[in-house]
């Protein structure tokens, strides 16, 4: 009787096969397979994220006039122009106003809706679907419909007139246009944050509420002392997503107001688009992109650092 010896691979030890070069080890094979598996994703990230990001910085140091065919190194000239751009303070102010309005309205509305839909009442599934469905609608289609609704003789004012209210010309007034753009954007995306909040609310242990009720805590105290701390990680997540999203708003502005009336809704991304794609000044457009990148980075880092103070289990 012959006995066959079976070699078993020992983790962390190099195995070699007879007749094969010594460097072609199981570990190397595993590494190669791993790299090949992630290659498509890695290539996509390099091609569509890292490379454009690098090119954006590169372009920002150039004067690139597409029509004239000029692409010349100008060093920090575009950054000097950025510092002296008379339109930029107004644009940044508009961007801040839009972001603050959007984030405040979106998060508070999402939380209120989530709390309401967390109740054990009939029909909540229907309402969840209704509030979430705009998330699945194409952004431009959603915005175009709202553009018609918000016209002077549109559906919104038609509805207001039935209760005797004469609505404003929403998209032609500086304040009303900003309000309209914020509300249209909030209604589009509030469902996403609502679902996230709802999941967080349903994850709060019921025992905590029971114990606090026995201790005599009222509804507001339970919300402030139990609900808010327990869903604080989700509040952090949604606030980061919403802040970043608010700084990237473009299609809504383009479709609804084209940055007007005047420049009252010209946010940073739209201003960037105007410079690069309408004024054919890609170099300065890239510089504005760098500014946007820096703003998003700083805000995200601040939020991330602040989590230690107000997110439970992060201290």
């Amino acid at each position: 009787m012959t006995r066959t010896e079976v070699k078993t691979a020992v983790p962390g030890r190099v195995q070699t096969r007879p007749g094969r070069p010594g460097w072609w080890t199981a570990r190397r094979r595993d590494h190669l397979a791993g790299f090949l598996f992630v290659a498509p994703q890695l290539a996509g990230t390099v091609l569509f994220v890292i490379l454009p990001l690098g090119l954006m910085f590169w372009y920002s140091f150039h004067d690139w006039n597409v029509l004239a065919g000029g692409f010349t190194w100008t060093g920090g000239e575009n950054y000097g122009r950025l510092a002296q751009d008379p339109a930029l303070p107004g644009v940044l102010g508009t961007t801040a106003m839009f972001s603050i309005g959007l984030v405040a309205l979106n998060l508070s509305l999402a939380l209120v809706l989530a709390i309401l839909l967390d109740q054990k009442l009939r029909g909540t599934i229907v309402f969840r679907t209704i509030f979430f469905s705009p998330v699945a609608v194409t952004l431009v289609a959603w915005t175009i419909v709202w553009r018609f609704l918000l016209q002077d003789d549109g559906g919104v004012n038609g509805l207001l007139s039935t209760i005797g209210v004469e609505g404003p010309n929403w998209l032609r007034g500086e304040t009303t246009a900003m309000v309209a753009v914020v509300v249209v954007q909030v209604l589009k995306n509030v469902g996403l944050n609502m679902v996230l909040f709802l999941a967080a609310l349903q994850g709060v242990p019921k025992e905590l509420y029971e114990a606090s009720t026995i201790d005599g805590a009222g509804a507001w105290t339970r919300f402030r002392r139990i609900t808010m701390p327990m869903i604080s990680p989700t509040i952090l997540l949604t606030s980061i997503i919403t802040v970043v999203g608010s700084l990237q708003v473009f299609a809504q502005i383009d479709v609804l107001t084209s940055g007007g009336p005047g420049t009252s809704t010209t946010v940073l991304v739209y201003y960037l688009y105007q410079n690069a794609f309408q004024f054919h000044d890609f170099g300065y457009g890239a510089t504005l992109s760098v500014l946007l990148f820096a703003i998003v980075l700083v805000l995200t880092v601040i939020q991330w650092q602040m989590r230690r103070k107000w997110v439970v289990h992060e201290d």
Partner: protein
């Protein structure tokens, strides 16, 4: 999964990446690409027919592709293609982009190619039509469409409001802006539909208002482009007139209100004759007449579209040769089916009538032929995109009922003077 199989699977997943990196060569007959903003099947079929005939005689050109881009954002898309090293060989160019394209060196000069082409009849091109597309003596784009603005009139709506038709007003010498607005206000008061729409203005495309203010002798800026004209008395008078027409007389729709003449929602509209096709199935009586006279007398405004060869085109020589073929007298007559040509010999009611069967020879003569020579082109300036944006933003405060017209226009000039000086 066994390791060799796993490696093969991973390699298969990564393979498309390496294949995608492979490209082809660029030898032999070339393929030309031309961008347009018309996706009309009729337009593209006509262009393809001309292209096929050209390819048959030119073995160095393998194919000619027509690439319709959306009109909205056309110039942005085109410049993005250029920036992305994907420039077309030939491109339609909007008149408001003409100064930028012509002065920047973005286009190949055409004089030598056109005048050197047998039978081209270069001198047949009307100087007024080519002026916008020249820098010095050199022509940089061919104005394949030169179309005056006129007024389409819904005679039924005018009659219902007890107003005379446009033809009657012309006959009695009353075809003036003042009378037009009066008639428009009467229509609005009687039926609720809008009286007069300056098409494509929509409180954003302000250059379309040149169809009105030219009647007052106003212009957006001086002829050399260095001085703002918006605060001139003529412009103030013209825009005060329009402001009253919108907010006091309600003869024109206000901001945020849309009205489509061709759907019967307005009594009159100022637009180009190429829109006549929209009236093929109109269920109302209509007419096309010249622009009304303003305080400065009779006038005309023309809209244009150019065709140029891009300097950064992959095949500029072949493209220029094709442009010469596409716009020679024979093919120009074919193009005239849809686009009024810049050739004097072809600006006849007969040629244009073939293209516009809905229009009478008299309409073509009075609105198109008689008006092209004296027509003022819509405002255009180097750096037009910035100016366009700055003027639009500065004009916005004008479109409120209690606006201070002179004050808004003075501020507008302050805003655009740095741009005009560039």
């Amino acid at each position: 999964m066994r390791k060799p199989a796993r490696i093969l699977l991973a390699a298969a997943a990564a393979a498309p990446l390496s294949l995608a990196a492979c490209g082809g060569g660029d030898e032999g007959p070339v393929t030309l690409r031309m961008t347009t903003w018309s996706a009309s099947e009729d337009h593209l079929a006509m262009l393809s027919e001309i292209a096929d005939a050209y390819i048959a005689d030119h073995p160095d050109v393998e194919a000619i592709e027509f690439d319709p881009l959306p009109f909205e954002g056309y110039t942005s898309t085109l410049t993005t293609q250029i920036a992305g090293d994907n420039a077309p060989d030939l491109a339609w160019i909007l008149e408001n982009s003409a100064p930028d394209f012509v002065s920047s060196g973005a286009l190949v000069p055409l004089d030598e190619t056109l005048s050197g082409t047998d039978g081209y009849e270069y001198d047949d091109l009307i100087p007024a039509a080519t002026e916008l597309w020249r820098e010095g003596d050199e022509l940089y784009a061919y104005p394949f469409s030169t179309s005056p603005f006129g007024v389409f009139v819904n005679n039924d709506l005018l009659a219902a409001a007890g107003q005379p038709t446009a033809a009657e007003l012309i006959a009695s010498g009353e075809w003036t802006w003042e009378r037009v607005v009066e008639a428009g206000a009467a229509v609005h008061a009687q039926s609720g539909v809008d009286g007069l729409v300056i098409r494509d203005f929509d409180y954003s495309g302000w250059d379309n208002l040149s169809t009105l203010w030219t009647g007052w002798g106003a212009s957006a800026w001086s002829e050399d482009g260095t001085e703002c004209g918006f605060d001139d008395p003529e412009m103030t008078a013209a825009l005060t007139f329009m402001h009253d027409a919108v907010f006091a007389q309600e003869a024109m729709p206000g901001p945020g209100t849309t009205a489509d003449f061709f759907a019967g929602e307005a009594a009159m509209t100022v637009t180009q004759i190429s829109r006549a096709g929209l009236l093929a199935e109109a269920e109302f009586g209509w007419d096309l007449v010249p622009l009304p006279a303003g305080p400065a007398g009779e006038y005309s405004v023309i809209g244009q579209a150019g065709l140029g060869v891009l300097t950064v085109a992959p095949h500029p020589e072949e493209a220029a040769d094709f442009l010469a073929y596409l716009t020679n007298p024979e093919n120009s007559a074919k193009l005239a089916q849809y686009f009024p040509p810049p050739r004097e010999s072809q600006l006849t009611a007969e040629v244009l009538g073939q293209a516009n069967p809905l229009l009478t020879p008299e309409q073509l003569q009075t609105v198109v032929i008689d008006r092209i020579d004296a027509g003022v082109v819509k405002p255009g300036h180097t750096g037009q995109a910035q100016l366009d944006q700055a003027v639009r933003a500065a004009l916005d405060p004008l479109w409120t009922p209690d606006a201070d017209v002179a004050g808004v226009l003075a501020e507008l000039c302050t805003a655009i003077e740095p741009l005009l000086a560039q």
